[in-house]
Symmetry: C2
Subunit: 454 residues, 2 copies
C-alpha cells in the first residue's frame, strides 16, 4: 500500500511537472509568434508580391519560388519539390451578366466557376428559371427549363455554428450545371457560397458529371445579385438575361508542391506533416485561402528553430500545389511519401483561414480523442479546444495516419472565400499569429508524446 501511494505520488508529481514544463514551453511558443514571428510579414509578401496563384498560372510558378525562399529564411534543414501535373483553367475576359428591367439594363455581379466552359462568343440571352433545390428543378422539368438558364438560389443554412458545415451542405449546387443540362438548360448560375450579403461573386471548383455528355457554362452570382435577381423574377417571370464568359481549360501544366523539413533528433525516421495549399483561386490574393495556412506552416518550423526546440521526429512543412481544382499536389506527395524509407505518423492541415484559433480538430474515434483531449488544459489559456473534427483536403490522401485540422473561427471565412476580396487587409495580424502559435504548440506535443497507440 505504501509503495502504491508512493508510486501514485511519483506518477502524479511527474504528470504535473510535465504539464508545467509543457505549459511553459507553449507560453514561449505563443510569445515567439506574437512578438518575433514572420507570419504576418510573410503573408503580406505572398499576397502583395505574388498575389493570386491559380494552378498552371505564372503566379503559381512564382509562388513555388516564393515558398522555397520563405522556407530557407525559416531555417529548414532541407527543401525539395514534388512534381505534379496540374489542370490549367483560365478565366479570360471579365464575365458579364445583364438583365433588362423596365427598359433599364441592370448588371449583376457574377463570375465563372472554376472548370467551367465559356459561353459562345456572343454570349447567351434567354429566360431564367429559379430553383431552390435539385428536387424543384426536377419538378419544374424539361418543358419549362429547355433553352433557359437555371438559377440555383440556395442559401447557407444559418443554424450551423461552424459555417463550414453550411458550406458542405450547399456546395453541391456549384456543380449543378450537369443536373440542369439534363432538362435542357443552356447555362447555370449558382448563388455564391457565403454567409454574407455583399456583392462579391465567389468562384470555386465545379465539376461536370462524366456521365452527362453535354456541358454548359456555369456561373456564381453574388449574394446581393441573387437577391436582386430573385426579386426581379418575382415581378417578371419572362425576364431575359445576357450571360458572357470567356473561360477555357488548357492542357495540364507541370507544377510542384514545396516541402521543407527540420530533421528529428531522436527518431528522424518518423515524420509529422504540417501544411496548407500554395495555390489559390485567381480572384483576390488567396490571403485567408490559403496564404494563411502556408505562412503558418512555414512559421511552425521557424519557431522550432528559433526557440531551439529539439524535436525528436522530423517535422515537415508542405506547401501543397493544386488543392483548389484537382488536389494533384496531395496525390503526388502521397505517392512520393509511399516510396520513402521514412514513416509518416501524423498530419495537420491549416486551410480554414487566418482567424482566431478555436480548436484543433482530431479525426478520431472517442478513445483516441480522449488521448489528445488530455492536452486541452494546456490550451485553455489560449481559448482553444481539442475536439472531434480533423483532416484536410490535401492530407486526406495520406491514409491510415492520424489527421488533424487547425480550426480557426469560421464566422467570417465565407465573407471572403474564393472572392476578389480575399486580400491581405482582411487578415488580422494577431489572429493569424495566434493560429501559427496554436499549430506550433500542438505539433510540439505530437512530436514529444507521439500519437495515440492502443
Amino acid at each position: 500500500m505504501r509503495f502504491f501511494i508512493l508510486l501514485l505520488i511519483f506518477i502524479t508529481t511527474n504528470f504535473f511537472a510535465q504539464q508545467n514544463e509543457d505549459s511553459l514551453q507553449i507560453r514561449k511558443i505563443y510569445s515567439y509568434h506574437l512578438t518575433k514571428g514572420r507570419t504576418y510579414a510573410n503573408l503580406r509578401s505572398l499576397c502583395k508580391e505574388v498575389g493570386a496563384r491559380l494552378s498552371g498560372s505564372k503566379q503559381a510558378v512564382k509562388a513555388i519560388d516564393w515558398a522555397k525562399q520563405a522556407m530557407i529564411k525559416a531555417g529548414v534543414d532541407s527543401i525539395y519539390l514534388v512534381p505534379c501535373m496540374v489542370p490549367h483553367w483560365v478565366r479570360g475576359k471579365k464575365e458579364k451578366c445583364e438583365v433588362n428591367n423596365n427598359n433599364k439594363t441592370e448588371t449583376l455581379s457574377v463570375c465563372a466557376l472554376g472548370g467551367s466552359i465559356g459561353t459562345p462568343v456572343n454570349g447567351i440571352k434567354t429566360k431564367v428559371i429559379e430553383v431552390s433545390s435539385f428536387e424543384e428543378l426536377e419538378k419544374i422539368g424539361t418543358e419549362k427549363i429547355k433553352g433557359n438558364i437555371v438559377f440555383y438560389n440556395v442559401s447557407f443554412d444559418k443554424e450551423f455554428i461552424h459555417t463550414g458545415n453550411a458550406y458542405g451542405k450547399a456546395v453541391k449546387y456549384r456543380s449543378g450545371a450537369s443536373m440542369a443540362v439534363k432538362y435542357g438548360a443552356v447555362a447555370s448560375i449558382t448563388k455564391s457560397m457565403t454567409t454574407s450579403d455583399n456583392d462579391f461573386p465567389h468562384t470555386g471548383m465545379m465539376k461536370y458529371d462524366s456521365l452527362v455528355k453535354q456541358k454548359i457554362p456555369a456561373f456564381a452570382i453574388s449574394a446581393r445579385g441573387a437577391e436582386k435577381l430573385s426579386s426581379l423574377l418575382s415581378q417578371n417571370k419572362n425576364l431575359e438575361m445576357y450571360l458572357y464568359s470567356d473561360c477555357v481549360t488548357l492542357p495540364d501544366e507541370p507544377s510542384y508542391s514545396v516541402v521543407g523539413e527540420i530533421h528529428g533528433k531522436e527518431i528522424p525516421n518518423e515524420v509529422i506533416v504540417v501544411g496548407g495549399h500554395l495555390d489559390s483561386w485567381d480572384l483576390g490574393e488567396g490571403a485567408h485561402d490559403d496564404g494563411a495556412g502556408i505562412v503558418q506552416s512555414i512559421e511552425v518550423l521557424a519557431a522550432f528553430k528559433k526557440l531551439n526546440i529539439k524535436n525528436k521526429r522530423t517535422i515537415r512543412c508542405i506547401a501543397y500545389m493544386n488543392e483548389e481544382n484537382g488536389t494533384r499536389g496531395g496525390e503526388t506527395y502521397t505517392e512520393s511519401a509511399s516510396k520513402e524509407s521514412k514513416k509518416h505518423i501524423a498530419a495537420l492541415e491549416s486551410d480554414m483561414g487566418g482567424f482566431s484559433p478555436r480548436a484543433i480538430g482530431v479525426d478520431a474515434k472517442q478513445d483516441t480523442l480522449t488521448y489528445y483531449k488530455k492536452w486541452q488544459p494546456l490550451f485553455e489559456p489560449y481559448y482553444v479546444f481539442i475536439k472531434q473534427g480533423g483532416g484536410g483536403t490535401d492530407i486526406s490522401k495520406l491514409k491510415g495516419i492520424p489527421q488533424f485540422s487547425f480550426e480557426p473561427d469560421s464566422q467570417r471565412y465565407f465573407d471572403f472565400h474564393h472572392t476578389a476580396d480575399d486580400v491581405f487587409e482582411h487578415v488580422n495580424k494577431r489572429e493569424l499569429e495566434l493560429g501559427a502559435a496554436t499549430i506550433s504548440s500542438f505539433i510540439y506535443l505530437l512530436d514529444k508524446y507521439g500519437t495515440y497507440t492502443k
Copy 2:
C-alpha cells in the same frame, strides 16, 4: 448497497436527462438568435439612427428613447428609467497637431482625451519630450521637460493573449497629464491604446490627479502618428509641435439608465441582471463599445419571450448610462436597487465588443468556479469556455453577488475601441448573434439552477 446503487443510477440518469434537456434548449436559443433575432437589425438602428451618444449629449437623450422602444419591441413586461446626473464634456472643434519637418508641415492624427481641458485659443507651440514610462519621465526631470509637451510612447504588450490585459497595463498613461505637469509640461500626448498600427486616434477617459492643482491639455495620438513622431524626434530633438484643442467640461446634465424586465414565474423576487452601457464616446458610432452589449442584452429578453421560456426568476436588462466617463448610471442603479424589495442574485455584463464568443468569465474562487464549470460541456458545441474572469464596470457597483462577463474574442477590439472607426460595418452579423445566444444560454442556466451556494 443496492439502495445506494439505485440512488446513484437515479442521480446519474437524472443528471444526463437534464443535460440533454438543457442541451436541446440551448440549441433552440442559438437557432433563434441566428435565424430570427433582431440583434443585428437593432445594432444598425442604434448606430445609424442614433450614432455616437456621449453622456450629456443630445444623442444620449435620443439613445434613451431608442432603448425604451427596443425593449418594448422585445416584449418586456415592464420598463423604467433610473435617473443620474452625468458629466457633460464637449470636444468642440477638431483638434490640430502639426510638426515642422525640414520646412514641411506634417499633420499627425490626434484627438483630445475625454475630460481634458482645451488648449489656449491660439494653441500651444513648443518642443516634444518622448518618454516610454513614468520612470523615464522622472529621470529626465523638470529642467528638460519644463515648458514642453510630454509624449508618452508606450506600446501595448503583445504577449498577452487577451488584449484587455495589455490595455489594463498601458491605460494609466492616458491619465499621464498630471504626472507630466509636475515637471512643468504644458501638454501631454499619449500613444493610442491599440494593438493596431492604423491612423485612428483613440479617445477615452483621462483623469486629473486631484492633488495636482494645475491642469494641462491631454491628447491621444494614433499608433501611426506615434511612430512617425518618434521617428522625427530621433532625427531632430528640437522638433516643434503645434497643438490645438477646443474641449470643455460643462455642468452636469440629468440623464437615465433604461431598465426592462421579464417577471419571474416562480421566484419573481430574485433578479438576474444582464446589461451593457448605452452611452458611447463621441467619435464613431459606439458599435462594438458598447452598442453590441446593449443589443445583445435586449435580445436576451426577447429570446426568453419568443421561445416561451418560463423563467423562474426576474430577468432584468439594464442599458446603463455613462460607463465611459463617470459610471454614474452604475452608481445610481445600485442605489435604487438597494431600496427595492427584490433581491439581486447575479449580474452579467457584455462590454467587450460584438465578436465571436470565447468564454463566460466567472468572478469567483476555485470552488465556486467548479459549480459553473460543470456547464461547460453544454457550451462546447459553441466553442465557449467557462473560466475565471468576470464582472464589468457597471455591474461592479452591485457588491456581494456573483458577477459574470461575456468574453468575446479580443483580438480586434482595440482596432476600433474609442475611435471614429467603431462603426456598424465592423461588426459581423453572426459573431454578434452568437454572442447574444451565448449570453441568453448562460442566463437560462443561471435562472434554472441558481447561483452557487455553499
